[in-house]
Amino acid sequence: MNIHEYQAKAILSSFGVTVQQGKVVDRVEDAVAAAKQLTEETGTGWYVVKAQIHAGGRGKGIVTETGSHGVVLAKGIDHVEEKVKGVLGGHLVTKQTSAGGKKVNKVLIAQDVYYPGPSETSEFYMSVLLNRATGRNMIMYSTEGGMDIEAVAEHTPHLIFTEEIDPSVGLQAFQTRKIAFNLGLSGQAFKEMAKFVEALYRAYVETDSSMFEINPVLKTSDDRILAVDAKVTLDGNGLFRHKDYAALRDTSEEDPTEVEADSHGLNYVKLDGNVGCMVNGAGLAMATMDMIKLAGYEPANFLDVGGTADAARVEKAFRIILKDPNVKAILVNIFGGIVRCDRVAQGVVDAYKSIGEINVPIIVRLQGTNAVEAKTIIDNSGLKVLSAIALKEAAQKVQEALA
């Protein structure tokens, strides 16, 4: 589960990770008061206004309505309102959003941490994630902070370091020291970095997270270490241990149809194609999408109806798929195991009748337990439903239906 930067910073801060301070507002009228309060707390004279959306690349992104970037600097309290107006309420388009962008419902007004001081500032990259190959967590870090880490990985892979953590003992002090040395730090900044890494890893483990990405981690001009940005992904399967974090979910950031499907226990991902599909099992669902593509079309969605494909679920799934106006045909692909195909077939017929008019062709492929009986039910239903048993036959029927 993804959360906003301001929520991520609040969580990190509660574990002792030092972060850039800020105030979140959702109304322009509150911006100046929030900025003044921030100055009282931190002494900052400049402010960074940051759009709060679930997508990266905000700094370079453009707000469609105003032309403003998604992260802007207000050089003084008198500029705060104008800068917030440019970002809040608009649609921010970044390289990670769709062309329509994401609506900015909240902005974070953050302290300026790049103030001048006794030494130069430096930016680093740091993430905590699972190494799937070893089944252990690792800290990935780089001296090349503040830029796209994928580009760093491609052009200068030797500047990316990893430190793997042994689950039986956890992160050790020699490891935090190694990280601070590899980042070229000394003196006060070295000590601060070691503390920062220790707190960050503790936060990762205790929050049941599946990814932390802090880019940049800043060494300030007075040798403090701060998380300037924070991307936190919580493990959805761990949320039962953190009821308070479940409330951080912002469904306005998600596709409304996906949210609705999720509330009915259907695993649905919207895609850009025109052939909808309804499948039992995630692997077979992906395979069905691939087959649609090989037949010369593009899948409109991923949809796993799960193990109990009864009439009510099939109907809900049909209604979800049909919300997408691009859908020109629907392929139902069920491999009946414990689920009997004749029951699913009856479910399809009942759902069809209950919805009334479905104006796109439906191809139903039922294989496995009672597949033949299922085909008879579909064929005798009098509905505009094409049936198939073999997988290849289903692909051909999709082509026939759309020809």
Binding site: L130, R132, A133, G135, R136, N137, E150, A153, D166, P167, S168, V205, D208, S210, D235, N237, G238, F240, R241, N267, V269, L271, G273, V279, N280, G281, A282, G283, L284, A285, M286, A287, T288, M289, D290, M291, I292, K293, L294, E298, P299, F302, D304, F335, G336, G337, I338, Q367, G368, T369, A390, L391, K392, A395
Partner: protein, 294 residues
């Protein structure tokens, strides 16, 4: 011979008396699997499905001689169940449970390291050796006895492959569903290795999906054996968008190396017969086998 489970396996069910455990234990018994009992803490000494219930796995091992365990325990307690089975000396643990927190699996995987135990799953359909033992939730009748080994991350896609292989006039030695989670006990490579060393397996169907590096690792291993046995491979998710989780927690494209395209390329380079369409698995295997025979 087959691999992992056979007619001599003595199977216990952890989470025996729950609804999932009860349903699938009955199905396994009906199939002919030698289910010797089950474990539900607090219900030890009672009987369920005409089989004894034990309080601990250790007791099931001691009193019923169990050597295989299948786990239907809810996600919050599943990693604990895996570690309990390992500690009790169970040789093969099959974890069906979906939705175990990753942090719990980091601990469990570490706990299993160095022990003489094989974990299959979690989030998997289980293992079946047709005609001998079904230790999983798959529909048994789809799997006809034969000499093709199947290893797959996905449940229904495993059934699809088994069905196609059977309809192509071949059959299955053992089918292993390794699971779709980011951390799993047995990798694709390890499952393939079992089949390479199994005298009752002549060829292998290897089904993967986007995310991770398991298929590439298996492909390189297959090449290193000198392609001792032919392998037909398929990767699901050629049309999956980057950065989105497709049902299985582990099915997410992170970079350039874990796309379906990249995996299929490596597999083909390593001498695997890669099919682009999941509808071609059976036919391709039949062709490969008749070429071997000729």
């Amino acid at each position: 011979m087959s691999v992992l489970v056979n007619k001599d396996s003595k199977v216990i069910v952890q989470g025996f008396t729950g609804s999932e455990g009860t349903f699938h234990a009955s199905q396994m018994i009906e199939y002919g699997t030698n289910v010797v009992g089950g474990v539900t803490p607090g219900k030890g000494g009672t009987s369920h499905l005409d089989r004894p219930v034990f309080n601990t796995v250790a007791e099931a091992v001691e009193k019923a001689g169990a050597n295989v365990s299948i786990i239907f325990v809810p996600p919050a307690f599943a990693a604990d169940a895996i570690m309990e089975a390992a500690e009790a000396g169970i040789a093969t643990i099959v974890a069906i449970t979906e939705g175990i927190p990753v942090a719990d699996m980091v601990k469990a995987k570490n706990y299993l390291k160095g022990r003489k135990v094989r974990l299959i799953g979690p989030n998997c359909p289980g293992v079946i050796t047709p005609g001998e033992a079904k230790v999983g939730i798959m529909p048994g009748f789809v799997f006809k006895k034969g000499r093709i080994g199947i290893v797959s991350k996905s449940g229904t896609l495993t059934y699809e492959a088994a069905d196609q292989v059977s309809k192509a006039g071949l059959g299955v030695s053992t089918a292993i569903g390794i699971g779709g989670d980011p951390i799993i006990g047995t990798t694709t490579k390890e499952a393939v290795e079992l089949f390479m060393n199994d005298p009752d397996t002549d060829a292998i169907v290897m089904i993967g999906e986007i995310g991770g590096t398991l298929e590439a690792e298996a492909a390189r291993y297959i090449k290193s054996t000198g392609n001792k046995k032919p392998v037909v491979g398929f990767i699901a998710g050629q049309t999956a968008p980057k950065g989105r989780t497709m049902g299985h927690a582990g099915a997410i494209v992170g970079g350039a190396d874990d796309t379906a395209e990249a995996k299929m390329k490596i597999m083909a380079e390593c001498g695997i017969h890669v099919v682009a369409s999941p509808g071609d698995i059976g036919e391709t295997m039949a062709k490969v086998m008749s070429a071997v025979a000729a």
